[in-house]
């Protein structure tokens, strides 16, 4: 089953003819071999037309054989795995591969939108800034969507990606980008010296250009030399060779980004394996041996299918044994291009002509032309006859002004080579121009990085080996390795001769950026309209902004700009290079952080018990907290929450409050330390007592609150809110280490050490008597309000008991070491059974705190002062503390500040909503009359109506006043009464009881 493969040579190439593969392109079944790319397999099957262009829907074929490809983009795979804009030139062929051409309708051969070409005069650079301007409202609704539909590339899958992606770190002395002769030589030198080496190669085979161009190294054929080098590297334990891996970026501190296409070459990743892996490689040194990219010459019709880079044509013929054309014309301005003519002759293909823009051709090449029976034309290609079926005829402007024509079905083009300067330029390095090779070479590379070989402008094989070896040795030496590097591999250098040529004037569209359909005349237009800077040129014409990032087009574009603006190329300069070097899927950056693994989660010690109880959970930060515990027959959350509140207020309930931040504050100066971080005093707190504390930021605004207990003379146990647990720990460490290093105090987070439960309700003591050792005195005298001490539990376990209340009821908080947390929840259920104990969640907790007028997150919102919260009297005047001075600023003590006040609708049946704005009666809603807003609301089972807290201007002076709650978001406006914020048991008798 090898199929037709009419354009496959009978032998040769690095394909595995014993492993034939079938694949589909636009539904048609075709055949190829293992070792093919999709592009080489398409060529072997005689497919020339591969896609339609972005703007003009022009027929396009395959231009290159690498990751610089602008044209041959396909939708690879199908269904949820469909990947748009995949380069056929890098997609490895596998059994059953499915690919579809893009940007065409109804079919690739007959594309309705190719009518765009007729309107080409409208679609010049910046056309959408100039047209579709009126009426303005049509832009978003009509013009832009229509343009996007007509342009655009492939279609995203539109559903969740079924595959997994991975991220990993790697560390080495020397990371090498590219495994051509320079990269392999660098790896050999560095590896032999004893350095840890990572060699990244984006291809699936090592060797770089050697795979297509061969050569003789150390007297061996290139393939044999590669095999020996790879065998030697593989035998070194600290050398890691990573194929299918592109080094795409360099970041601070010698960190490099690489994307490994682990299983892109298979239809579906094997079970438990990822599709791609994103690497962060930390390397002391980096050798960029990423090679060079052959550059096109811009001429009319240069995008016709069948026009191909000369080096790509050699790759297809030599590496893949696939012939892109039978009768080949070559257009070159340099010596290297001639290798394609040599390859064609050696393979038995016809050479129609060589069009050489240089004044002279070497005697050897003249002789080749004689043997091959083809003419050498001095001049340039000025036009191409052909279309979707490929090249038919080539027009040539001969030096001296005459015109010629060449009949051929393929045109190889070589305009010289551009070193791949991406990696070396990612830290704002500007490549420098070298006249001798008419190309930019790396300059200003990031620290620790050096380029070698073709990436450094050294195009000869011998030079590549030499530069690579020296760079590898130097990198290893700099990283501290001095082992014996052995001898350097040697090869001859090819002759180099080039006459720069960027653009041939002629009739018809001459494309600079084929992926974005930017023509030479677009560049000229940009210059005429004042967009002369290369950065403006780029944005105005979109030159180089496609997924190929202009790898084949940027330099030609700026060379044309230089010519029309009368500047030199180095004066014109390059745009800024930015990573990634190749597109990297967002999925790879996300790794496994998706769906339920989007972020880490924290579970309370009683989590699994709460799951058994059927709790509904809410995400609070990273925590999963039980929000309420629905019971059979309850119709909604409100019914469940109301039941929980009533059960607590009339009996007893408990709630896991382990999410509160908990900090051990140790040391002889612990009290003095807390005096400075809290607004109220703690050094005066007696051992065995708890106190509510409030801390401010340096700017006088409230930071956090919580209860802190003194467990020993030199040991306090501090609690924070759930939300600020980590931040308060950081803040206190900063205070300890930086602000008050003179204090002898030690801090430890014990948030995870303790399972803590709040037990609340008039029957709390009854429940506790069941579970606490009978020897413990829990009476009001033996354990007064705000008491805190260790107690023994039945069964011998020790617990900490704190008589504190957030609910306003008689309440205790009890702490046990966390691994006993689940047992504690179960035992509270057992102990409380006779009293109808009810577990309650964060909603009931919230209802009870609002009924009690306690402030929480919505009021501690980063804008409020202690006085705003009604806690101004807590600010000690006898000591200094963080935020004291700034809290006295005029605006923070202004009499008209918005302060916490209670709010209830005058219509008891009405639901109060948080976020509603407070407007005086009779005034027009608006910023000038806005006096605050509702911060927290709940349905109060005690009052049988909705109530809330709000921040209202002079609120405490206006108790009893009726104002408007204006809620434009929900379209509501109703009267509310400002009232005391403590709705329930204002004198506090219940919690002291």
């Amino acid at each position: 089953m090898r199929g037709d493969q009419a354009n496959r040579l009978n032998d040769g190439g690095l394909i595995d003819r014993s492993t034939p593969l079938n694949f589909r392109f636009d539904g048609k079944i075709l055949f190829g071999f293992k070792g093919d790319t999709l592009a080489s397999a398409l060529i072997a099957n005689g497919v020339k037309l591969v896609g339609r262009s972005f703007k003009y829907h022009r027929p396009r074929g395959i231009l290159t054989a690498g990751s610089e490809e602008p044209n041959a983009l396909v939708e690879l795979r199908s269904g949820a795995r469909r990947e748009p804009n995949t380069k056929a030139t890098t997609a490895e062929l596998y059994e059953g591969l499915e690919a579809a051409s893009q940007n065409r309708w109804p079919s690739l051969k007959f594309d309705v939108m190719s009518v765009n070409q007729l309107f080409a005069p409208i679609f010049v650079a910046g056309f959408y800034y100039k047209t579709f301007m009126w009426p303005a409202k049509f832009w978003e609704a009509i013009y832009e969507p229509a343009i996007r539909r007509a342009a655009g590339l492939g279609r995203a899958a539109g559903v969740s990606d079924p595959d997994h992606y991975d991220k990993a770190w790697a560390h080495c002395d020397v990371v090498i980008a590219g495994s051509g002769p320079a990269g392999l030589a660098a790896a050999l030198a560095a590896g032999r010296s004893g350095a840890r080496v990572i060699l990244c190669e984006e291809d699936f085979v090592l060797g770089g250009r050697l795979l297509a161009d061969g050569g003789t190294i150390d007297g061996l054929p290139a393939a044999e030399w590669i095999a020996r080098a790879v065998a030697e590297l593989e035998a070194m334990p600290d050398v890691r060779i990573m194929t299918r891996t592109t080094l795409f970026g360099v970041y601070d501190g010698g960190t490099y980004g690489a994307i490994e296409r682990v299983n892109d070459h298979l239809p579906v990743p094997p079970k438990h394996q990822v599709r791609q892996r994103l690497w962060r490689i930390v390397a002391k040194r980096c050798v960029v041996a990423a090679g060079a990219i052959e550059r096109p010459i811009v001429f009319a019709g240069n995008d016709t299918p069948g026009v191909m880079m000369a080096s790509a044509m050699r790759s297809y013929i030599n590496r893949y044994a696939a012939t892109p054309a039978r009768r080949i014309a070559l257009f070159t301005n340099n010596e290297d291009g001639w290798r394609t003519a040599e390859t064609a002759i050696a393979t038995g293909l016809q050479v129609a002509a060589v069009i050489d823009a240089r004044p002279d051709v070497s005697p050897a090449h003249r002789a080749l032309a004689g043997r091959g029976g083809f003419p050498v034309l001095h001049g340039s290609v000025s036009g191409v006859d052909g279309g979707k079926n490929g090249v038919r005829k080539i027009s040539v402007s001969l030096t001296g002004g005459a015109r010629g024509e060449v009949e051929a079905d393929g045109l190889a083009v070589s305009g010289g080579w551009n070193p791949a300067v991406g990696l070396t330029s990612y830290h704002r390095g500007r490549p420098k121009w070298r006249d001798d090779i008419a190309a930019f070479v790396p300059d200003g590379a990031p620290p620790g990085m050096a380029a070698a070989g073709a990436a450094n402008g050294a195009f000869g094989l011998g030079a590549c080996l030499r530069e690579g070896f020296e760079a590898g040795a130097a990198a290893a030496r700099d990283a501290g390795h001095s082992g014996n590097i052995g001898s350097m591999s040697v090869a001859d250098d090819e002759a180099f001769s080039l006459t720069p040529l960027w653009h041939v004037a002629g009739k018809g569209k001459a494309f600079v950026d084929q992926q974005h359909d930017v023509t030479a005349s677009d560049v000229e237009l940009a210059q005429r309209e004042g967009f002369e800077s290369v950065e403006h040129l780029k944005r105005y014409t979109t030159l180089g902004m496609a997924t190929d990032q202009g790898k084949t087009s940027n330099i030609a574009g700026l060379a044309i700009m230089a010519a029309v603006s009368g500047k030199s190329i180095p004066e014109t300069g390059t745009t800024i290079y930015r990573p990634p070097y190749v597109p990297v899927a967002i999925g790879a950056f996300a790794g496994h952080h998706r769906d339920e693994n989007f972020h880490a989660t924290r579970l309370t010690p009683s989590h699994h018990w709460a799951v058994e109880q059927g709790a509904v959970f809410v995400d609070t930060g990273l925590w999963k907290r039980a929000q309420w515990y629905p019971r059979a027959g309850e119709k909604d959350w409100l019914e469940s929450v109301t039941r929980e509140v009533k059960a607590v207020r009339s009996g007893v309930g408990f709630c896991d409050v382990s999410t509160l931040g908990k900090i051990d504050v140790h040391g002889p100066d612990a009290g003095a330390f807390l005096d400075r971080v809290y607004i109220n005093a703690f050094s005066s707190l007696a051992v065995g007592k708890a106190r509510y504390g409030l801390m401010l930021r340096e700017d006088g605004i409230v930071y956090d609150d919580g209860t802190t207990s003194r467990l020993a003379e030199d040991h306090y146990f501090l609690t924070t809110t759930t939300a600020k647990a980590g931040l308060v720990m950081q803040h206190l460490e900063f205070c300890r280490q930086v602000l008050f290093p003179e204090l002898d105090v030690q801090l430890t987070s014990v948030s995870d050490q303790w399972a803590q439960f709040s037990i609340a309700g008039p029957k709390t003591r009854d429940l506790l008597k069941e579970i606490v050792d009978p020897a413990e005195d829990l009476s009001s005298e033996g354990f007064p309000f705000m008491g805190a001490r260790e107690v023994a539990l039945r069964g011998g376990l020790k617990a900490r008991l704190f008589r504190i209340s957030f609910s306003g009821e008689m309440a205790f908080e009890i702490s046990v070491p966390a691994r006993y947390g689940e047992a504690m929840a179960r035992n509270l259920m057992i102990a409380g059974k006779p009293f109808g104990v009810t577990p309650y969640g964060t909603e009931a907790l919230g209802v009870m705190r609002i009924e009690k007028g306690h402030v929480a997150g919505p009021e501690l919102n980063g804008t409020t002062t202690a006085a705003d919260l009604g806690l101004g009297k807590m600010m000690s005047t006898k000591k200094d503390f963080i935020g004291r001075v700034m809290a006295a600023r005029e605006a923070l003590v202004a009499p008209n500040r918005q302060v916490v006040v209670g709010i209830k609708p005058t219509d008891k049946a009405r639901r109060l909503r948080s976020g509603a704005h407070i407007i005086p009666k009779g005034e027009t809603p608006g910023p000038e009359n806005d006096q605050g807003y509702v911060t927290s609301v709940c349905f109060s089972p005690v009052l049988d109506q909705w109530i809330g807290l709000g921040l209202v201007e002079r609120g405490r002076e206006r108790i009893g006043e009726i104002v408007r709650a204006h809620d434009p978001l929900r379209g509501e406006d109703y009267d509310v009464e400002l009232c005391n914020s403590v709705f329930y048991d204002p004198d506090g008798g219940r919690q002291r009881g």
């Binding site: 997994h164 991975d166 991220k167 990993a168 770190w169 790697a170 560390h171 840890r196 600290d238 079970k271 438990h272 394996q273 990822v274 962060r280 930390v282 496994h592 693994n597 972020h599 880490a600 989660t601 924290r602 579970l603 309370t604 010690p605 699994h608 925590w623 051990d664 140790h666 040391g667 002889p668 100066d669 030199d714 040991h715 204090l743 002898d744 105090v745 030690q746 430890t748 987070s749 014990v750 948030s751 995870d752 050490q753 303790w754 069941e770 579970i771 539990l793 039945r794 069964g795 070491p817 966390a818 691994r819 006993y820 947390g821 689940e822 047992a823 035992n827 057992i830 102990a831 059974k833």
Partner: protein
């Protein structure tokens, strides 16, 4: 009077399913949760680091680590956790906070962390490859030898990581102390990372 049982339950009790996981065949990664240990944070009081170190040497027979190291003694592991502080990991109350209280009286503050962490021991052929997905630390044997330690993070979760004594078969062992409330979440992340190598999962009451 009701009967109360105080069952101790590891934070990984539900998440950990003993046996094989992921790719079949020879497991590349072995994961063992060590349960029911004592862990005490020892922090020198101001200007008392020398006294603390002396007290530690007298108690454990070795000097406590002053750099990121984990030092094994006959019945405890001392793990560096910051300047002038270290963790004492032990079993069966030998070096519990109650036992150490008098040892460091006046020279250091002690905080019990026994229940605040879960301890996961990782070994196997692919242990390093798996940990490279979670940790930015270079675990090459030349860099992170036996006794090396790091206070670091994995999957945005704080972790104390050290290399314990090699297994009898010569395999490296990496120990992770992770905050208890994050443990189940990190455990799933570890399984995700290890699945392709094949995993064998277990738990133990013994410190390695």
């Amino acid at each position: 009077m009701a009967d109360f049982s105080w069952d101790i339950r590891s934070p990984l009790d539900r998440a950990l399913v003993a046996g094989p996981y992921g790719a079949q065949g020879e497991a590349g990664v072995s994961l063992t949760e060590i349960r029911d240990f004592d862990l005490v944070q020892v922090m020198a009081r101001r200007g008392k680091a020398g006294e603390m170190m002396k007290a530690a040497t007298a108690r454990f027979g070795v000097a406590a680590p002053e750099t990121p190291k984990a030092i094994g003694t006959a019945d405890a592991t001392l793990i560096w956790s910051g300047p002038d502080q270290f963790l004492v990991l032990s079993k069966d109350g030998k070096h519990s906070i109650e036992a150490l209280d008098s040892v460091f009286a006046g020279s250091a503050s002690l905080s019990d962390q026994s229940h605040a962490r879960a301890l996961i021991s990782v070994s196997g052929d692919k242990a390093r490859a798996m940990l490279a997905k979670l940790s930015s630390i270079d675990l090459h044997p030349d860099v992170f030898g036996v006794g090396a330690a790091a206070a670091t993070s994995m999957d945005h979760t704080s972790v104390t990581l050290w290399r314990g004594q090699d297994r009898a078969d010569g395999q490296a062992v990496f120990d992770l102390l992770v905050f208890a409330t994050f443990a189940a979440s990190l455990w799933h992340t570890i399984l995700d990372a290890a699945a392709e190598y094949g995993v064998t999962i277990g738990h133990s009451e013994d410190l390695a």
